[in-house]
Structures are given as structure tokens and as C-alpha cells.
């Protein structure tokens, strides 16, 4: 077993890890970024749904009542995400949830986060789509919103629109390097400043360091990338500062397991887990009504018939992001595409059998819609597995220790979103809309949050507003686990902005630890 040292050890290479990794490396610190998954080029995954392709980069982690889709490769979820890049509405930062008091730290608001949003938008970069870049599915949703008296916006995306070929294979990375994943900005910039990115390195525990001047030791299992679960090596890495960004499913498990080596953890570690209030529905469209009611046509005799064509996310409705509405009744509605291996979740209303097969026969006339609501952070993590953040069953599939039982408040939000979708999508016989069935996987989300969250109240938050774990100076959490509540929009940009903001506190801690760093605000494009 080797023992190495570094100034900063970063656990995870998604938004929460890559951005502090870059900021610390560009400031002059020695940085090692440990990633449990493989390093894959943008071409490596291909446009392919075969086992062994995208399944090497993403995992479905099945818990009790919730299934989480999470990245498992260098770049984390940015490799598989749909690049919708939105700022959380102002009211989110004032949320009180079921506790009845402010959940976000007083230091954080939309106004205080806006400068950090500006920076990450410029660095990825994020652009606005014109109506001519909106897919047929997005246009159909916009037209349905308009005929119901609603507004609808093109969605800002981290995509080079000039390069994009609208192939709709974003889950498999991007064959054409149009999607601005972290493989194209923060990670290469971090490496240019000397950061080491080590794939197939899975951190198991954090313990006190033995080397004078270093604070924490990471115990790491190294894998060979064959998909096997037997490690080929063990490494110990000691660091002055640790940035924990293993994702909202990975981060709390590492901390729970580290109770044996570090000592007691804040009570909020592994609690207050949120699925971002995500709720997916399928509208099975009536092609004749699209033509007659909405006046849409994409070819002679064809009104829509275009679910798989174009970018995955192109439009959304902001109307219910209204701060005057009661908490749990505010949400966004977004047009989205899911590849056909998720068809099992569609409800006809049952998820299998004759009626479901008939529903499959109209697949190209489906319109998939994502409501991002306000849930109640009701998820908790149970006993951690002996190794890893979940128990792997096979390619892209594992059993996690999290449990999620939607509270009445969360259900109320979903009911409000369902009702609004019916008003928009079923008006004038346009479609029949049904939420994904909960029986196969419970709540399904690609937006896990909150399992080690920020806050001012030590009883309900694990991190102070600087992202430092309470009682553990120099141990920062900067991924989705830190986000205190559901965001009502896709979380990646907020995670990125928070991680960029946290990087300044990480640099301060490095200075306090005796590391000479340049604390200026660097950006990867500079």
C-alpha cells in the first residue's frame, strides 16, 4: 500500500469536484482528483444503447422508494446530462419546507449567487436557444402552453449550437463535442495547471492523517476498469484539504462509513435527501388534434410524430415559478426526452401488459414532460455498504441504501403539477397524460440533492455556509449533496455556481494550512 500526499484531494470529478479542482490547481495548489468511474472520450460511448456502452458511464441506483441516475465516469453526470443550465428562482432560497424555518444559509440568495452563476455560465459556456433551435417536441409543448394561456420559454443550454447536430444522444456523451461537459472546460484546465485526475479510484473512508502538516487520509480502492468488483490496488492519499464531491448518493455514504475512523458526524449527514421533486409524465398525443387545434405540421400529413428528433430539452414553462404561490405548489414544467430503455416506466396506466404494448405502438407521438416541484427532503440513508456507495448488481445497476417516502406535502406538489399538465396537455383532446409508474423503481430522478446539506442550523444541516463539514475543518462538501432543497429547475448550474463560490473558502483554508496560493478568481477560458 502506497501513502501519498497532496495539498487538495478532490473526491469526484463532476460539477462539485471539477470546479474546485480547477480553482485550487490554477491557484497553485497540488491537486489530485479521484474518480471512481473510468475515463471515457466523448466518442467512446458512441450513439448506442447496447449494454457496455453508455452503461459504463451512468448508474441507476435503486433504493427503497427511489431510483437515482448518476454519472460514473470522469466528468461525472456532466457526461450524460442534457445540459439544461438554469438559475434557481429567487423564492427557492427562502424555502422553509416542513421545518417551518429558512433552510438555506442566510448568506445565500439568488442575488448573492448570481455573480457565481455568471462565472460558470461564461466558463461552460451556456447559451440561449432560439425558436429555430427548439425541437419538434419542445415546439409542441410551447404551442400547447400557448393555447392554454400559458407562457413557454426556450431553455438555456451548455451546448455549442453551431456544432450540435440535434441527434438526441446526449445520454451517451456527445459524439460531436457540442455538449459542453466538464471534459471540455474545467477538467482539462485543471490538468493544464498540474492537477492529476485519477479514474477508477474509489474512496472508501476518510480518517485522520499520520503525516505532520496533513489533516486527512483517504483510503482508496483502485479498479482495473474491466467492470469487476475486485480491486487491483489500495492507495492512501493524505491531504491538507479534502473536497468531497462524490454525488448526493456517494458523499453521505463515505461520511457514514468514516464514522469509524473520524468520529461522530453531524446529524444531517445522510438525511434530508431530495429527488428535486422530479416527476415525469408521458403525454400520448393525438396527431389529428395537434394539426387541427394547434395548427402544427412538420411535413405533408404529419403533425408531430417526432419524439426522438432534436435536442433532449428545449422548452419549459415558468408560470408556476411564482413566489406568491404557497410552498409546495410552485414548479416548472419542462419538455424532455428519455431514451427508450426508460419506456418501462411509462404508465398505460399499468406499466406492463396489453395496454402498455399498445402505448408503445405510439411511441413517436409521446411527449415527455418533467415537473420539477418542491419536495420535503424526506429521504434518508440507511446502513452503508461495506465498500462503495452502493451494491453493484450489474452494468449500470445497483442497490443503494437510501429510502424515500414522499410526504403529503410532496404529494401535494406533484398533484398540483399533474393538474396543471392535464390543463395544458389534455385541453381540446390534445393528448392523454399520465405520470411515470412508481411501481418499478419508486420515484426516479437524475437530480439527487441534499444528503449532506448547507444551512445555518446545526440540527438540520451538515455544512456551514462555507461548505465545511461541521466539526471537520478542511473537509468541504461541494456537490449536489450540499444543496439544501429542491430547486424547481435542473440543478447542474446551481451546483456549479455553489462549487465555484465554495472554492474561495477552500482557498482560504489552504492559506490557513500554510499552502501558498493565488486567491484571485480564475476562469478556465482565461
Amino acid at each position: 500500500m502506497t501513502i501519498e500526499t497532496t495539498d487538495v484531494a478532490v473526491i469526484g470529478s463532476g460539477f462539485g469536484g471539477a470546479i474546485p479542482g480547477y480553482r485550487c490547481a490554477s491557484a497553485g495548489a497540488r491537486v489530485v482528483i479521484l474518480e471512481r468511474g473510468p475515463r471515457l472520450s466523448s466518442q467512446e460511448l458512441g450513439q448506442d444503447l447496447a449494454v457496455g456502452t453508455y452503461t459504463t458511464a451512468i448508474d441507476a441506483i435503486v433504493g427503497d422508494g427511489i431510483t437515482v441516475l448518476a454519472g460514473n465516469c470522469v466528468g461525472g453526470s456532466s457526461v450524460a446530462y442534457y445540459a439544461a443550465s438554469l438559475r434557481a428562482p429567487s423564492f427557492v432560497f427562502q424555502r422553509q419546507g416542513g421545518l417551518g424555518r429558512r433552510l438555506w444559509p442566510a448568506a445565500l440568495s439568488r442575488a448573492t449567487l448570481d455573480p457565481w452563476y455568471d462565472r460558470v455560465e461564461a466558463s461552460l459556456p451556456v447559451v440561449q436557444q432560439s425558436w429555430s433551435e427548439v425541437s419538434y417536441a419542445g415546439g409542441l409543448f410551447a404551442a400547447a402552453c400557448a393555447q392554454a394561456g400559458r407562457t413557454c420559454n426556450p431553455v438555456p443550454v451548455a451546448v455549442d449550437l453551431a456544432t450540435c447536430v440535434n441527434c438526441n444522444w446526449m445520454l451517451s456523451g456527445c459524439q460531436f463535442d457540442a455538449k459542453r461537459s466538464l471534459l471540455l472546460n474545467y477538467l482539462p484546465a485543471a490538468e493544464a495547471h498540474g492537477a492529476q485526475v485519477r479514474p477508477l479510484h474509489e474512496v472508501q473512508t476518510i480518517s485522520p492523517a499520520a503525516t505532520p502538516g496533513y489533516r486527512y487520509r483517504l483510503s482508496v480502492l483502485v479498479f482495473d476498469g474491466s467492470g469487476g468488483t475486485t480491486p487491483v490496488d489500495t492507495v492512501c492519499l493524505e491531504a491538507k484539504v479534502v473536497v468531497l464531491a462524490a454525488g448526493a448518493v456517494g458523499t453521505p455514504v463515505i461520511l457514514q462509513r468514516s464514522i469509524w475512523t473520524l468520529g461522530d458526524m453531524p446529524a444531517a449527514v445522510g438525511r434530508h435527501f431530495s429527488g428535486n421533486g422530479d416527476r415525469v409524465s408521458i403525454a400520448v398525443m393525438n396527431e389529428d388534434r395537434i394539426r387541427d387545434v394547434l395548427g402544427l405540421s412538420r411535413a405533408p400529413g404529419i403533425a408531430y410524430d417526432a419524439l426522438p428528433l432534436g435536442k433532449a430539452i428545449t422548452t419549459m414553462c415558468f408560470d408556476r415559478l411564482d413566489s406568491s404561490l404557497p410552498e409546495f405548489e410552485r414548479f416548472s414544467l419542462q419538455q424532455i426526452y428519455f431514451p427508450p430503455m426508460t419506456n418501462i416506466l411509462a404508465s398505460a396506466p399499468g406499466w406492463w401488459g396489453l395496454a402498455k404494448k399498445r402505448m408503445r405502438g405510439r411511441w413517436r407521438s409521446w411527449l415527455t414532460l418533467l415537473a420539477m416541484t418542491e419536495d420535503d427532503n424526506e429521504g434518508i440513508f440507511g446502513v452503508p455498504p461495506l465498500v462503495g456507495s452502493f451494491t453493484r448488481l450489474g452494468p449500470a445497476l445497483g442497490i443503494g441504501s437510501m429510502r424515500y417516502r414522499p410526504s403529503p406535502s410532496t404529494r401535494r406538489g406533484w398533484a398540483a403539477a399533474d393538474a396543471e399538465l392535464r390543463i395544458i396537455m389534455e385541453r381540446n383532446g390534445l393528448s392523454t397524460v399520465t405520470p411515470w409508474h412508481e411501481e418499478p423503481g419508486g420515484v426516479v430522478t437524475a437530480h439527487p440533492l441534499g444528503s449532506c446539506r448547507l444551512g445555518d442550523d446545526p440540527a438540520t444541516s451538515a455544512l456551514d455556509h462555507r461548505h465545511e463539514l461541521r466539526g471537520y475543518p478542511g473537509l468541504f462538501v461541494t456537490d449536489g449533496a450540499a444543496v439544501p432543497t429542491a430547486l424547481c429547475v435542473n440543478p447542474s448550474l446551481t451546483i456549479a455556481a455553489l462549487a465555484d463560490r465554495a472554492s474561495s473558502f477552500i482557498l482560504e483554508r489552504l492559506v490557513f494550512s500554510g499552502v501558498q496560493v493565488n486567491q484571485s478568481l480564475s476562469m478556465p477560458l482565461q
Binding site: 402544427l296 406492463w352 401488459g353
Partner: protein
């Protein structure tokens, strides 16, 4: 051992009895395959593939779960379920035999118990399993049936759709271009179709 356990043990023997009557040298595989095809056909019903096709109930038109490479996916080296399939099949047949006993249904001895049930009874058995203590196993088996039908997960997608994979042909998954890649130049109605929210910020965000 209580009376229920004795009955279940007897049913296990009964359920495997048809397998021993098959004369093929690959008898276990044949019974396992037929049972699992019947399971996939219950989830995604299709048409009988040939006269006397016992696995497929034949309550819908083609294609069905038995037509799309479900067994190939289960036996895929990365999925690695091959060695487990006889056990899964036996569990399905035990459940079917138990169901038949409790519903006074006489099963044929020429086919595995689950295959011997009519479609509505197969549906009831599968529904029970999906709500029983081993539901995770059966949900996983159902997920793989869906993956075989909807995404041909055992094959490269371009190869599957270009060669007429029945499930992806049924859903009309688009064909790739001549170089085997998907690109769309025709993807948008190309015009404004709704007013944007009045409080949208200059960066296109909610306020």
C-alpha cells in the same frame, strides 16, 4: 417444516416434472427458455411464432417480448444472468403451480407450469410476483424484457434498427444515416410558438 413448506416443496418437484419428460439433450435449457419467453410474452404480449408455440399466449399481434432477444440479453456476458436462469425459471413455475393449485386449475404435464397457464392466469401470477417478497428480482427481469424490446440492449443500436429488430421497428425508432450516425437537419417547427414569461431575465432564466 410447516404444512405450507411441504406443499411448496411438492410443488417444486411438480413444477420441474415437465422438464424431465422432454427428450432433448438440452432439456433444462429448453424448459427454462420456454418459461422465460412466456414471462416476457406476458409483459409484452405478441403473436404465436409457429403452430403449437406454447410459450406465446398469442393474445396480441407481433411483435412481443418473446421475439426481441430477451434470452440473448439475459445471457449477455455483461448481464451475466445465464447461470441464474434455471433457478429463476423454477421459481416462476413454482409460483404458477401454486397459483394453479389454489385456483383449481389442471395443468398440462407436457410444458412447464407457467407455460401451461392461459394468459389471464399468467398475468395474475406475474402480478403476484411483482408485489411479493422477491419483487426486486421480478422487476429486474421485467426491466430486462423492456430493454430487449425497446432498446435491443444486447445489440449495437445501429445494427439492430438497420436489421429490423422487431421491438424497435414496432416503436419506429429512427434509422441512422449512411455513416451509421444519427443527425437531424429537420428537427424544428422553426417558429415562435408561445410568448415567453414576462419576468424572464436577460440570460433566459426565471427571476
Amino acid at each position: 417444516m410447516d404444512r405450507r413448506a411441504v406443499i411448496r416443496a411438492a410443488l417444486i418437484s411438480l413444477a420441474t416434472l415437465p422438464l424431465s419428460t422432454v427428450t432433448s439433450t438440452d432439456a433444462t435449457d429448453a424448459g427454462t427458455a420456454t418459461t422465460l419467453e412466456a414471462f416476457a410474452d406476458t409483459l409484452i404480449p405478441g403473436a404465436k411464432r409457429f403452430p403449437g408455440d406454447a410459450a406465446v399466449a398469442g393474445v396480441a399481434g407481433p411483435p412481443g417480448g418473446a421475439d426481441v432477444g430477451y434470452l440473448d440479453l439475459l445471457r449477455h456476458p455483461l448481464v451475466g444472468m445465464g447461470p441464474l436462469l434455471p433457478g429463476v425459471s423454477a421459481a416462476l413455475n413454482v409460483a404458477a403451480a401454486w397459483y394453479a393449485t389454489t385456483h383449481l386449475i389442471l395443468l398440462p404435464i407436457s410444458v412447464p407450469s407457467f407455460v401451461g397457464l392461459a394468459h389471464p392466469h399468467r398475468t395474475a401470477v406475474v402480478d403476484d410476483l411483482l408485489h411479493g417478497p422477491d419483487r426486486l428480482v421480478w422487476v429486474l427481469m421485467a426491466m430486462l424484457a423492456s430493454a430487449a424490446f425497446d432498446s435491443a440492449a444486447h445489440r449495437h443500436t445501429a445494427d439492430a434498427v438497420l436489421n429490423g429488430h422487431p421491438g424497435m421497428t414496432f416503436t419506429r425508432f429512427p434509422l441512422p444515416g449512411p455513416d451509421g450516425l444519427w443527425r437531424y437537419t429537420d428537427y424544428s417547427y422553426g417558429r415562435k410558438l408561445a410568448d415567453t414569461h414576462p419576468r424572464t431575465t436577460v440570460t433566459g432564466n426565471p427571476s
